[in-house]
Symmetry: C2
Subunit: 188 residues, 2 copies
Amino acid sequence: MTADRPLRADAQRNRARILAAAEQVFAERGPAASTQEVATRADVAIGTVFRHFPTKRDLLAAIMKDLRQRLLDKAGTLLADGPPGAALFDYFTFLVESSAKVGTVAGLLAEEGTAIEPDEQIAAFTQTFGTLLDAAREAGTVRPDVRLDEVMALLSAATHGALAGAWSDDLRRRTLALLLDALRPRRS
Amino acid sequence: MTADRPLRADAQRNRARILAAAEQVFAERGPAASTQEVATRADVAIGTVFRHFPTKRDLLAAIMKDLRQRLLDKAGTLLADGPPGAALFDYFTFLVESSAKVGTVAGLLAEEGTAIEPDEQIAAFTQTFGTLLDAAREAGTVRPDVRLDEVMALLSAATHGALAGAWSDDLRRRTLALLLDALRPRRS
DNA sequence: AGGTAAGATGAGTGGCGACTCATTTTTGAA
DNA sequence: TTCAAAAATGAGTCGCCACTCATCTTACCT
C-alpha cells in the first residue's frame, strides 16, 4: 500500500522530538494541553507538528502506541527472569507503578476522554495477561477460580486509582499488596 | 456574614432546575460539556446559569456537594439497617455501583481535572469509613491489620475503575467480590 | 555545485466556549 | 393596582485552540 520512501533526516529527528515533548507535556498537563505547547517544548513550529500528526488525536494515539509497546515489551523481560508463578504479580505491580509516574498510562486499557480506535495492542495486553495468569495458576500462586477479565478489571482500577489518587509510595505499596492478596489462594 | 434574604420564588425554581440539568449533562458528556447545554436542558437562558453560579467551577462544585451529601446520607441508612460487620462492605459496594451509574461520582475523593478546594465533606467521608471500619474490625469481618487509608485507596480505585472501564454488571459484581475479599480475614 | 522535492515555518482562520451587560420581565410588598 | 428591586434574557465580547497555507529552508541526488 503505502510504500513510503524513508523520511528525510531532519524529519525523523523532528518526529522523535515531537513525540518526546508530547509525552512530557501530556503527562504533566493532561490530554487537554495545547498542541502549541508541545511544539514549543519540542522547539519546532506548530505547522511541523501537524505535518507529522494531522490531528491532535493522531498525536495522542501515537504516544499511546509507543507507550503501550514499551510496557508490553517489559512483560517479556519479567517473564524470562523470575519464576513463572510470580510474573503475574510482578507485571501487575510494574504497570501500576508506571502509571503512578507517567500520567498518560491511565488510558492504557480503556482510553479515557480522548478515545482512540480499538487497538490490536490492547488485545496483546489481554493475551499477555492470559498467559501470565495461566502460568500463575499452574504454579498455584493464584486462586484457580480467578478469571482473566477480573484481573484486567483490577488492573484498570489500580491503575486509574494510583493515577487519580496520587498515593504516596508507601500507601501504593500497601494497597497493592492488599489487592494482590485477593488473587492469592487462601491458606487452607 | 451573608445575611442573604431568601431567593425569590422563580429564582429558587430555576436554581433547582439548573442543578438537576447540570447533573444530567455532566454525567452524560463529562465535565467538558458546555454551560450552554446545561442552560438549554434546564430551559433557561445562559445568563441565568451564570447569575446563580458565577463560574463553571462553581456549578461543578455545587453538583458535587449535592451528590456527596446524598451519598453521605446513605451511610446512615445502611448503618442503621444491617449488622455492623457488613455495613462497611455494603457501603463500599453502594458507592461503586453509584459511580457506575452516575458518571460524576468519579471526582468524589480525588477531584479529577476540575479540581475543587479541599472540602469538609471529604473529611466526613473518611470519618464515616473510619467508623465503619472500626465496627467491622470489632465484628471480626475485616482483617485487623487493614488500615483506613488502604480502604479509601481501594475505594478510589474501584470507583475510578468502574467508571472508566464501563464494566458489565456481572464483571463489576465479581471484581468487587474479589476486592472485598482482600479485606476479609483469611480463614485460619 | 545545482536543482528540486520534501520539509519547516508561523501568521492567519474559524469555531467554540466561558463570561458580560443593557434591556426586558417577574415578583412581592405596600 | 402600583412600583421598585430582583431576576431573566440572549446577543455580543474575548480569548483560546485546532488546524491551514503561502512562503522560505534544507536534505539529498546527480
